[in-house]
Symmetry: C2
Subunit: 367 residues, 2 copies
Amino acid sequence: MSEVYAARRDRLRERCHAAGSEAALVSGNANVRYLAGTAPAGAVLLVCPGQDVLLCPCDPFGEAGPRAAEDLQVLLLAEADGDPAVAGAERAAAAGRGSLAVEEHHLTVSRHRALRSVAPRLRLTDLGPAVEQQRLVKDDEEISSLRIAAEIADQALGELLESILVGRTERHLALELERRLVDHGATGPAFPTSVGTGPNSGLAGHLPSDRRVEEGDFLSVCVGADYRGYRSEIGRTFVIGTSPADWQIELYDQVFAAQRAGREALAPGTPYRDVDRAARLVLEAAGHAERVGPRIGHGVGLENDEDPRLTPSAMGKLDACVPVTVDPGVHLPGRGGVRIDDTLVVRPEADGGPELLTITTKELLAL
Amino acid sequence: MSEVYAARRDRLRERCHAAGSEAALVSGNANVRYLAGTAPAGAVLLVCPGQDVLLCPCDPFGEAGPRAAEDLQVLLLAEADGDPAVAGAERAAAAGRGSLAVEEHHLTVSRHRALRSVAPRLRLTDLGPAVEQQRLVKDDEEISSLRIAAEIADQALGELLESILVGRTERHLALELERRLVDHGATGPAFPTSVGTGPNSGLAGHLPSDRRVEEGDFLSVCVGADYRGYRSEIGRTFVIGTSPADWQIELYDQVFAAQRAGREALAPGTPYRDVDRAARLVLEAAGHAERVGPRIGHGVGLENDEDPRLTPSAMGKLDACVPVTVDPGVHLPGRGGVRIDDTLVVRPEADGGPELLTITTKELLAL
C-alpha cells in the first residue's frame, strides 16, 4: 500500500519541480491523507527531494503516533514546536531549499506570515489545488472503498425501510441510520445524515428536527458511509401511507426524470455544466426553474463534497474513474419535496457507461 | 434576544473604531454565530457604521434563509456572487469605507488576495482574535445553556452506566451515548464521543473501535452535549467487574488528586499556566511526567475547544464567568489509563468558588 502514497508524492514532486518550486508544504487535511495515508488533525506534509516528512502537531491528547506510509518520516512535534506548517518551513529552509510551494487556499494569512518570518529567505509560492486535481481521478483501490461505502449506506437505508416509521422523529431516524452504518462496518457517517418529513422533505442538507413522521408525508433521506476515509452518498424520497397523492406522484416523476437525465449525461469528456444542464432542463420544463438548487451534483472521495462541482458555471470535463453524485431535488414551500441522489463512477460507453454504486431502488415506495 | 447580539456587535464596532478600522469582516464560524445569532456554513458578517450585514453563501441546498437577529440585514448570495467575504469587501468599498479589519487567522491567503483585488482602495487590517476575546467571559444566558448541556451529558452517561456493558464495543457505547444526548434535548454531540476500553482507556480523544468491554477493563468515556450551540464536556473512568486491581486504584487516585488540584486552582486572577501546573505537579510527583498530555484543560462555549488553553506556556489569567474543562489523564501503554474531566465555571471565592456543571460522581465505580 505504502508505494501508492510514495507514487502520489512523486507525481506532486514532479509537478512542483516543473513549476519551479523545490519543495511543497501540503496542509489541506484530505490532501495530506491522500499523500501520506494518514492525516492527524493539523498535520502537514513536507514533500521535498530526498525524504518526505509528515509533521504532526503536539497531540493535545498525548496519543500514540499515526500509522503513516512506512517510507514516510513522521515527526510528532512538542507543544513548544508550535505550528507544524511553520516547523515544516523551517525544515525546508534548514535543508537549503530556495522555494516552497504552499496551499494558499488552505493556509490562513496569519500562518502564511508566520512561515515568512521564520524562513525569510525561503521564496513561498502557491501550490494551488494541485493535490485536489491529483485526487479527481480515483484508482481501483479508491473506487472499491467507495463501492463498499455505498453498499453500507444501501444496507442501512434498506433496514430502516423495514422498520415502523410513523410517529418517529427525524432526529431518531437519522441516528438509527448512523448506528446501522457503523453496524455494517463504516467508520462513521460520511456527513451529517439528513432526514426530512412532510414540509421538510426534499430539502437537501436539512438537519433532522423533532418533527414526527405522519401518514401522507413525503420522507426524504440523505445518508452516506465513511469507509477507509472514502465517502458515499445516497438520497431517496418515499411516501408514508398507502397511496401517494397526485401532486406527490407528479413531483416525484419530474425529479426522477431529471436525475436520470443527469446520470445519463455522465461520460468521459462531458463538460461538468452539461451534466447540470441535462438535469436542470427537465425541472425547468416542469416549471421548477426557481426551485432547483445551484448544482446538480458533486465529486466524492476523501471528502464528501469535492471536485468536480456539477453547476451551470463549472469549468472542465469529466474523466473516466471520477466518482460523482447526481442529486437534483425540488422543494415546494409548506408542502415538502423530492430529492433523489446517487453516487456513480464515470465510465466510458465501452465499459457499459456510468457505474451506479448506490443501488437502492428509485421507484416511489409507499411505506 | 436580538439586542444581545446587537450589543456584542457594538462592542466590536467600538474596538474596531479605536483600532482605526472603519468596518470589520468576521468570517470565523463561531464568531459569526456569536455576533449574529446564527451562522450558516460559509456565512460572513460585515460589521460597519449603520447597518450590519450577514452575507450567506449561495446555499448549495436551496434552503430557506437563516434565522438571524431581527435587526440584522441578511443577504442570501447567488452562486454568481461567489465568496461571501469578497462580496462583503465589495460592499464595504462601495459604502465608501477606507479600511476593513479581517480575521487573518481565519481567512486563507487566496481569499485575502481576492478581497484585495475586488477592493484595491480598501485598506485591509488584521482584526486578530478580537471576537474570540469577547467570547471568553460568558453572560448568564450562555452559562445557563452550558448548564443544560452539562446536565444532558450527565443524564446520558448515567443511563449508560445502568445498562449491561460487558461484551459491547466501544463504537456502540459511543453511539448509544450520542442517541441519549439527543433523547434529552441536545442538538447533537458537542464533539465525537470517546469511549476507550482496556488498553484504550485513558486516551483522551480516542476514537471508538470495535474492541469489546471485558471484565477487569478500565472503561473511560468522554462525552458532551451541544445545546443551543453551547458545548459541555464530561469524562469519567470506571472499572468493569467486581473489584478494581491495585494498580487501577492507585492510578485512579493519582489522576483524581491531580484533577481536584486543577479544579481547586480555578479562581479569577489565576494565571492559566498555574491551573495546568497545579494538576501537572501531582502527576509528576507520581512519576507520570512523561505521560501527561500538553494541557490540563481548555475553554468551552460555542466551540468545544476554545480559549483559554490551560497549558504550561499559556499566557493570561482566568476571569469570573469563564467556563473551562479540567481533564487530566494518564495512559499506561498496553494497560490502559484514567481520565477525569469536568466542565466548570470560574467564580470568585465570595460566590462559592468554581461552579461544577458536570455533577456525575467521580468516585471509582465498579460496573
